[in-house]
Symmetry: C2
């Protein structure tokens, strides 16, 4: 799938089929995140891939709107240096997350971000060191409803281009 | 270009040709960022597209390693709500930045991130409101050396997969 088509058609998917995601596909998704650009190429991330149902359910209970993780075929927990160390850590984690989700979409796999509101609980579950932190995880899976892969864009789903694009200076001065 | 190929081949490009980037292509790049997923679909971003050489040079002087902006055919300044409001603002800005860069790459356009270390100077230059902030901008342009589009991956350019991928729990427990 071409890049522009993937970006144009991608939708959040929160309900997944029972179809498993193979090791090979997990590698492909994670590799997309691994390849992402980052400030000074510091790659401030680790990814923990979860397919164990009990563990996915436990992680889903570390967030308020993270229920979709419990039904995912794959969860990727994004573990980073503390976000306060520099602003680019979360920015770069977002770049990696975007690549992973787009790569998955190309393979017909949907995804949704989850915020981990209870990072200490998640640390206990996942066993990562005290100097690393978690704010987010991604659910992945083949959509329960395969029509999700070809759904039309929701009207008003994004701000209009002329609301968020400025030319040369704020408010269109210079256009 | 397919998603996996774009992600696999993408390199940072800091030296650009004189070839201009048309309005249509600017729209295509910005639209990729506009379509990015964000926490609660809050789309916490505005993009200011710069092609004026003097303005690009001035923005390049708002960062320490941002010199490549001066030679870019297009700069995109990423303006957001204050990053301290919630961790997801920079994460989501990163997602949008990743989509813009990948979409550009598909069209043979290279890019590089720049950190804006002097946000007040940048605010004066770009005229955005006091309640918004800037940390980053992206340089875009057709590469000065078109071989950059097909360069081999640098050995050791990224951590090895087994250094950053964990299965089920930190340190490969459960593998």
């Amino acid at each position: 799938m071409e890049v522009h088509e993937a970006i144009r058609t991608k939708r959040a998917v929160r309900k997944f089929s029972e179809q498993a995601i193979s090791d090979e596909i997990v590698h492909r998704i994670v590799n997309a995140g691994r390849r992402a650009q980052s400030a000074k190429n510091m790659q401030p991330w680790h990814f923990i891939a979860l397919r164990d149902k009990a563990r996915l359910k436990a992680l889903s209970e570390c967030g308020t709107f993270a229920g979709h993780l419990a039904g995912a075929a794959l969860g990727i927990a994004i573990v980073t240096v503390h976000p306060d160390v520099r602003w680019s850590i979360m920015f770069d984690a977002g770049q990696a997350a975007a690549y992973m989700q787009l790569e998955a979409w190309e393979m017909g796999i949907g995804s949704c971000m989850a915020t981990i509101y209870e990072p200490d609980k998640a640390r206990e579950l996942l066993g990562f060191p005290d100097d690393l932190h978690i704010r987010a995880a991604i659910s992945f899976g083949y959509p329960a409803d395969s029509a999700a892969l070809a759904a039309a864009q929701k009207k008003g789903g994004r701000s209009a281009m002329d609301e968020m694009l400025h030319w040369e200076r704020w408010k269109g001065e210079g256009e």
